[in-house]
């Protein structure tokens, strides 16, 4: 027992010195990393899609002692949305090679908040991670956007040009599936010539046309259901 412990003691004391020797062989790499990272978030109204791209290269060289030709760099992209995703590792290449990796994930969207975390790194086979990039985590949710005021009147139709999210979050898109001239107004009333246009949003969108040119001065009401209308779905993002 005593002999075993003495052996352990010797090994544990010597191990760090062996590591230092390995690092003190005169191996030296002088290089400059030049990498970029891009995160993209989108949705088709059902799924939320996220992509993280890490790409770039390193310029520089190494001393003969460490044989830089054996040194490889490996790009890694982290893309986690909710419980889905994680790290994706690209193909290792020579330290001077151009490397890139793209990590695509998707998750079924919903009204609940989902957290997105995106980052990237480049690992050196000799020195470990030497470049990192990343973004603050985001809380995102798939939600129905509404058109932000003020509405615009054009030739008897009303429309909005921007989308908005509730609760002070920011939409990732300025518009989504809304048709440009499809009435999207909420309790919006406008007079254009002899016509009064009222647009309301109750499931289907109903456009009410009021005319004062009816028989005997009666105002007639024409209802028109817009079939072109779908719905607006967008991702609302709040930086944590």
């Amino acid at each position: 027992m005593k002999a075993n412990c003495t052996r352990l003691l010797f090994i544990s004391l010597c191990l760090p010195f062996w590591c230092s020797v390995a690092n003190a062989q005169g191996c030296r790499l002088d290089f400059t990393p030049n990498y970029a990272i891009y995160e993209n978030v989108s949705s088709d109204g059902t799924y939320i899609y996220t992509s993280v791209l890490v790409a770039g290269s390193t310029t520089g060289s190494g001393s003969a002692a460490c044989n830089p030709n054996n040194v490889t760099h490996t790009p890694k992209a982290y893309n986690k949305i909710g419980t889905v995703g994680g790290w994706v590792t690209g193909t290792p290449g020579h330290m001077n090679s151009y490397s890139s990796v793209q990590n695509n994930q998707d998750i079924l969207g919903g009204p609940g908040i989902i957290y997105l975390d995106a980052s990237g790194e480049i690992d050196c086979s000799m020195f470990g991670t030497f470049w990192t990039g990343g973004f603050n985590p985001k809380a995102i949710r798939l939600t129905t956007t509404y058109w932000g005021p003020p509405p615009i009147d054009s030739d008897g139709e009303c429309y909005y040009t921007t989308t908005a999210c509730r609760n002070n979050t920011t939409p990732t898109c300025r518009s989504s599936k809304f048709g440009r001239s499809t009435p999207q107004c909420v309790a919006y009333l406008s007079e254009l010539g002899t016509r009064v246009i009222c647009c309301d949003r109750r499931g289907l969108y109903v456009c009410v046309w009021l005319s004062s040119k009816g028989r005997g001065g009666r105002r007639t009401v024409h209802l028109r259901t817009s079939l072109r209308l779908t719905y607006g779905v967008c991702i609302c993002v709040a930086n944590l």
Partner: protein
């Protein structure tokens, strides 16, 4: 007592090693670089070069030939982020940036093959700066095609969208910045 000493001796190097690992990025023996800085497009979009932004967008949204159904759905969702973009314009963008991605992938493979070849004979690796200039030229070329193909309104939206996307990009600052 001796057992406790042995345990401590075993743990000590482990703790030291763990500390060294967490600081590897900051200081690694034998590795020397001037200490890079990152540019956040969210804070400084003006410092993200347009051509770099287009390249990143082309790579993420572009699809190589024979994409999966899921990949196409993703691409469609990405392109739908541009308000009021006509279908014809969206389809043109998808087609052109797909061609870009294919050509760029081929250029990267060729470049990396030259890097490997130089390494095998101990020669000088190809110039990375020249390679990046070639990339910028390629982006310019494809941007011209997009500009000729899209409607003026579609092009304006596309350019505006790329500027917005810079908020989701980070690049290593060029030396001196």
């Amino acid at each position: 007592m001796l057992i406790r000493l042995c345990t401590m001796c075993l743990l000590f190097p482990a703790v030291v090693f763990a500390q060294q690992s967490s600081n590897m990025t900051a200081s690694m023996p034998g590795m020397n670089h001037p200490g890079y800085k990152m540019i956040s497009g969210k804070d400084h979009p003006e410092l993200i070069p347009d051509l770099t932004a287009y390249h990143m967008y082309f790579m993420v949204v572009g699809e190589l030939p024979n994409p999966s159904t899921k990949a196409l759905a993703r691409q469609k969702a990405c392109l739908a982020k541009m308000p009021g973009m006509k279908d014809a314009d969206s389809q043109a963008i998808a087609r052109i940036i797909g061609a870009y991605k294919l050509q760029w992938t081929s250029m990267v493979n060729d470049y990396n093959a030259r890097v490997d070849a130089a390494a095998r004979i101990g020669g000088t690796p190809p110039d990375a700066a020249v390679f990046l200039r070639q990339r910028d030229q390629l982006v310019q070329q494809y941007l011209c095609t997009i500009r000729k193909t899209l409607s003026p309104a579609g092009m304006k939206q596309f350019e505006g969208h790329i500027q917005e996307q810079k908020a989701h990009m980070q690049i290593t600052a060029p030396e001196g910045q």
